[in-house]
Amino acid sequence: MSEIAIAFNRFGLGARFDDSAPADPRAWLAGQLGRFEARPTAIAAAPGRAEVAGRLAAYLEEARGEARQGRRQQRQRRRRGAAQPAAPMENMQSGESGMRDDDLAGLPDSARRFIRQSSRQNYLAMVAARTAAALTTPAPFVERMVHFWANHFAVSADKLTVIGLAGLLEFEAVRPHVLGRFGDMLLAAERHPAMLLYLDQAQSVGPNSQAARIAARFARGRRPPPGLNENLAREILELHTLGVDGGYAQADVTELARAMTGWTVSGLSRGLAARFLGVAGNAGDFAFAERIHEPGARTIMGRAYRQEGEAQARAVLTDLAADPRTARHLATKLARHFAGDDPPPAMVARLTQAYLDSGGDLPTVYRAIFDSPEAWVAAPVKFRTPWDWSLAALRGVGARNLEGPAAGALMTQLGQPVWRPGSPAGYDDIAASWAGPDALVRRVEAAERIASRTGGQIDARRLGPRLLPAQLSPGTQAAIARAESPAQGLALLLVAPEFLRR
């Protein structure tokens, strides 16, 4: 690959057909740090938090009503000695985020309705906004980093409460901080309603909190008291900061979970309890509920945190962001993204140092990537993920947007549905996950469709060298030139070995 091809494809999102080759690829990349738009038109026009969380709150209210009704009927049936039906609302999850009706079988009508509406009107609208931003951005490298960090702080829209909010985490917590400090992005991501709901932090209650004590008194042993949920605390340590080998123990997870109690989402309930807890404000806002916060000092990774209330977990996150193990974890992921599936140790060390020296200043780390020779090796180092490939293909043919349903269907077909990795670990960043036989065929099918939509208007023989400067092998060029139609030539270019990698 030429340096221009590397700048376009390895660092950027693929050349657009109308991109002119930059004279100085490194300066072109560095210049993007000043050109990035945190809130471009497409994203500003996407549904906002009030709409998304308002819809969720209305649904939850309806579902709670149905659940109450269900319990009443159950009691009546019990009195009459009838068999008990399954509890209706216990597992409100949908494997397809509402995209396919048959996955919603067995859910109550209200849940099905909500999933369809939030999928179509929120999730897919945001997928379209994300796609449009990536297709038209003046700063493709920075957009790539947005996608990278959103995947680092992955939430998955296969959980009902997250369908509409997943995209907002990227728009509200990642984009504003992608050129800031990692610590700020970390805080914004952990406080975001999508994260708090996805990893069950919103319901985590300190066992010795005021609310837990009251609940225990009322329950009188009939119901288990509300308690601690460690889910988010564990993922913060394992995925978001220190990394799985980051030297923390179960006690650290539990202590962090205790420190984080009280971090929740407001406005999702208007009942008495919500007012008592002080979380009856705007739907979807972050709220700190003192009355479910576990009182007392915490000890995490050998360090004591004596702060009161919200400040306690905040202080922990600040320390985690500054930890050398966090720096190393992030540096490893970044090096893997730009220098290959086996990240070169020298580059990891260099990025770690840049991170620590700058206090987690991300532009400083990005410049260290630009300055790493390991990221400029001529042979392709990465197999493009479906998302990467789709953007490169669409940019290559000059698309400026793709409607939400089309974008959603494309990414689902290619096996990487947007914001739906199915796990908080996010999508893998290695070839083995994406270069399988079936995945290749799907890419060819998608390429044929994308190419057919250009209506034979694009001459792949001329486009190829523009998208992959000085990179196409004679074999690929011949295959394209011998194609039986312009559209077939374009499809072949889009699935050429050179195009599949970066």
């Binding site: 270069a435 044929e448 001459d459």
Partner: protein, 383 residues
């Protein structure tokens, strides 16, 4: 029977003029249908309608010649590929007319440029921006102007100032077998991709995805087109794109597959259009022909002279039009290709003009503006 040099001479032009009164009643739509089936990839003419009467044919074509043992005889000189059974029946019913050794003005061998010329009607690739079918719409009135592309996008031939529609089933078919074959060849030099690809193709074959594709797809597309062209509100003009004609290797199987699909498409069009078939003209044409002799991989390479076909109740069929150039070594174009002796532009201009009752000279000038000496063919359509 072969009508030698039918396109030449003033008598033919006079015949065409007989159709001119149609212009006067252009306000009253004639409900005529016109379908253009584009064969993308350069369909092999000698493998479609074989000149079995040419003394050089059997020797030149080798194993390919055996395919015609069971085909329908067309006159005493030609034989249809056996997979073109429906086309053979239409020929017998005088609703099919075959034109052999014909070509557009293009004499190079690039699909891209060749198709552009076939579709724009220009004399050089990319010289014209719109397609000749779109310009044809400008000569028509009322309902006859309703045109549709039976594909997700509008191909060049139908593109231009006049508004046209496009329609394809939302669930588009899987990647075509031809593309899969080419991708496989492209990956041969890439060990990682090659391995994964071979495995994928094996799985695909085991799953039976490749079974029966040609006839099913062709028939389904033809039936869809017939529906789009049906009824009083339907389109009057349609374009259908077909692929799989670029048979550089293993031609006997692949061409047979493609021809079966084309035959099913014609049959489905006829069946679906019902009574309208009587007023229908279907044109089948490709960008150029293929080499006369097989190559080393059981296929043929890009050539020059091709063939075109007209089907429909409106066609004055049961004939082959050819000024047969012969297959002897000295007769071949550049020593390798079937030599074109007729102009595809003239055939198209004449057929379209007669079918819609237009002045052939005027239609010729508009559809093929750069053709200096264009003499639209005549006597193609029943009056």
């Amino acid at each position: 029977m072969i009508d030698r040099r039918l396109f030449i001479g003033s008598a033919a032009a006079a015949t065409a003029l007989l159709a001119v009164p149609g212009i006067a009643v252009a306000q009253a739509p004639t409900d005529r249908r016109f379908v253009f089936i584009v064969q993308r990839g350069a369909a092999d003419a000698l493998g479609t309608l074989a000149p079995t009467g040419d003394p050089a044919f059997a020797g030149l074509r080798g194993a390919f010649a055996q395919d015609f043992a069971g085909g329908a005889r067309v006159g005493d000189f030609f034989t249809l590929h056996p997979n073109l059974a429906e086309a053979g029946r239409l020929y017998a019913a005088r609703e099919a007319l075959f034109v052999h050794a014909i070509a557009s003005p293009y004499r190079e061998r690039s699909h891209f440029d060749g198709q552009n010329i076939l579709e724009t009607g220009g004399h050089a690739a990319y010289a014209l921006r719109d397609g000749w079918m779109n310009r044809l719409l400008g000569l028509l009135a009322g309902a006859e102007r309703r045109a549709i592309a039976v594909s997700a996008t509008v191909p060049v031939v139908l593109r231009g100032d006049r508004e046209v529609g496009s329609y394809a089933p939302s669930a588009l078919p899987e990647a075509s077998d031809d593309l899969l074959t080419r991708v496989g060849a492209m990956y041969e030099r890439d060990p990682a991709l090659h391995g994964a690809w071979e495995q994928a193709m094996q799985t695909r074959e085991m799953a039976g995805d490749l079974a029966g594709g040609g006839r099913q797809n062709g028939g389904a597309t033809g039936a869809l087109a017939a529906r789009l062209l049906g009824g009083t509100e339907g389109a009057r003009i349609a374009v259908i794109e077909t692929g799989g004609w670029d048979t550089h290797a293993n031609q006997r199987g692949r061409l047979g597959f493609a021809l079966r699909g084309l035959d099913a498409m014609i049959g489905a069009l006829k069946g679906g259009l019902g009574a309208e078939w009587r007023r229908t003209l279907v044109l089948v044409a490709t960008e150029f022909g293929r080499t006369a002799a097989p190559n080393g991989t059981g296929g043929t390479d890009h050539g020059t002279g091709a063939m075109a076909m007209l089907f429909g109740g409106a066609v004055d069929g049961g004939r082959v039009l050819a000024d047969w150039p012969g297959l002897g070594a000295s007769s071949l174009h550049d020593g390798r290709d079937l030599r074109p002796t007729m102009a595809l532009d003239a055939l198209i201009a004449g057929a379209a003009a007669e079918h819609f009752g237009l002045d052939p000279a005027r239609a010729g000038r508009l559809l093929f503006p750069n053709a200096a000496a264009l003499r639209p063919a005549a006597g193609l359509i029943r009056a």
